[in-house]
Symmetry: C2
Subunit: 329 residues, 2 copies
């Protein structure tokens, strides 16, 4: 597939061709140096975006019904005529070799919908690298004219924070808690969530979903209001991805929040800050890559890192020693 990258790939992506978008994402995900050059050239041709998609980050532990929710929401939006792209950041892919969306049977209906595009997580070795590529894939979906880009993650380690760094708003999906045994939200998440959705609010679980929702609504009151939020956000709601109950309300809240933030300039400011941070981290990564291209430097950096971790060397001294070994240009 990689062979077919041509000068018209940018044009084909811009025209919304799904196959071209898939190829473009494969290109940015590739680890080969020549591919990276082509990827950079492609990204350059696609900036600035002619039109912005709404970028929604979504996280939830395994078993909360994340793919059922994404499929239900995706189909609802696609039926409304919106073009929906789904990307995944899978923190476990490095170990398992699998991917969140790798299972072909998942989101079968959505994946066949002409308005939808589903992309499994790349199998990369480092989460930071995966996220960087997904950030780029998000931009490609935007260039391809998608209205909504859903970036999902199971939320291990830093993956939510990284997904939040490429999203306009962040949705956390949780399951109803059993009895009064409270399910703890992972630290740091309540801070980035705009919406907490208690899924499975159907059948036997409906009642406990409502109870769980009320408890989270209460917990959210303890957070200081954010400047970029209208009254009432962040918000906890119940939803049933299974029977669709609550789904239109969820979408209406998402739209209202996004609309408000755009009107007040928060979305623009948020994206500008995100872009600056990606720029900085690209510079850091690029500079470190340069020095560690030298095998001896790479080894020394690893050794110094160990000495620092053991407390035998102070971080500033270790960094100084490493930098001293690298001649300034």
């Amino acid at each position: 597939m990689v062979e077919s990258y041509g000068p018209d790939l940018a044009r084909r992506v811009l025209s919304g061709e799904r196959r071209a978008l898939a190829q473009a994402i494969t290109l940015v995900e590739s680890g080969r140096t020549d591919h990276r050059e082509m990827a950079l050239s492609l990204l350059e041709q696609l900036a600035p975006p002619r039109r912005e998609a709404m970028r929604i980050g979504l996280s939830g532990a395994p078993g909360v019904g994340k793919s059922t929710f994404v499929e239900a929401l995706g189909i609802m939006l696609a039926e409304e005529g919106l073009r929906v792209a789904v990307l995944a950041v899978d923190p476990s892919s490095a170990r398992s070799g699998g991917s969140i969306l790798g299972d072909k049977t998942r989101m079968e209906r959505l994946s066949r919908h002409p308005k939808a595009f589903i992309r499994p997580s790349p199998s990369q070795t480092r989460l930071g690298g995966v996220a960087r590529r997904t950030y780029e894939a998000t931009a490609l979906c935007e260039a391809a004219g998608f209205d909504t880009v859903l970036v999902e993650t199971v939320g291990v380690g830093q993956s939510e924070t990284l997904v939040a760094e490429m999203s306009d708003l962040f949705v956390l999906l949780i399951a109803p808690a059993a009895g009064d045994e409270l399910q703890g939200i992972k630290r740091g998440i309540m801070e980035i969530a705009d919406l907490i959705l208690v899924n499975k609010a159907d059948g036997n679980l409906k009642r406990s979903a409502m109870g769980t929702c009320a408890e989270y609504a209460q917990a959210l009151r303890h957070l200081r209001p954010r400047q970029q939020d209208p009254e009432g956000f962040p918000k906890a709601m119940t939803v049933s991805a299974l029977n669709g109950e609550g789904l239109p309300e969820v979408w209406s809240q998402i739209r209202a929040l996004d609309e408000w933030r755009r009107r007040h300039g928060h979305r623009r400011r948020c994206r500008a800050a995100q872009a600056r941070r990606w720029f900085e981290s690209e510079i850091h990564r690029g500079l470190v890559e340069r020095i560690t291209a030298d095998r001896a430097v790479r080894q020394r950096m690893a050794d110094l890192g160990d000495l620092v971790a053991e407390g035998k060397l102070f971080p500033a001294n270790a960094a100084e020693e490493l930098l001293r070994r690298i001649p300034a240009k």
Copy 2:
């Protein structure tokens, strides 16, 4: 003062001489290149620490009684025979030129105590820089044999996160809420706090302090337990810095938590991870400093950052362009 740095400064710091410690901190805070070299040499001589201090991060909004609390806790510990150092990270110092502990009349009793050492925040231009120096000052206090190092911040912007990156445990001080108007905790803080202390639990405010405490205790239940916490942590407690009520209980909880974490290896692992992150950020900083020593590169980096923020250039392309301008060695 700077003139007196001699080869025996390390020895004098190690012997616990307070004046030497003050000079050593001035040295690491200095922006001069020759001072930086001396500071690095000093830090090198002081690693690894012969004995670890307990490093406590402390944050609270203006008006919650932070300095009254630090003074009361500090004096209690000093009276028990412990040596206490107090450092400040002041995110506002860059603008105001002032500092958290700059006011000489604050903590007057503690500052006169022979077992105590108080150091105002350095007036630096960038928060990251201030924090780096405070991290180094923490190590200097440790080398000087202090038993406890309290690092305090008013908690604007990223300052709490930075303080947490140099602390073994983190205490958040809040004021009682008026009536049922809930005071929101700044986002991200509940996640790093080990203890939430509702101060001013005295006189008229005692009742509302207890109410506020109960509400936060409830909110903390919503957080997933952390691996590095024993049963019951994070914890909310009331305290009166004014009359000392609750202070021994607070200290006993802090000690219990630290003891538990040390016994289970969490403190060692936490410090190792912190040190690695400081090492990485020192490398990043050093590499960026090198390239931006060239004025044209510095200007280009600023311009590219603006283009990226405006969405006109994609971060990866901007970074690539910047790095292309810098010849590899």
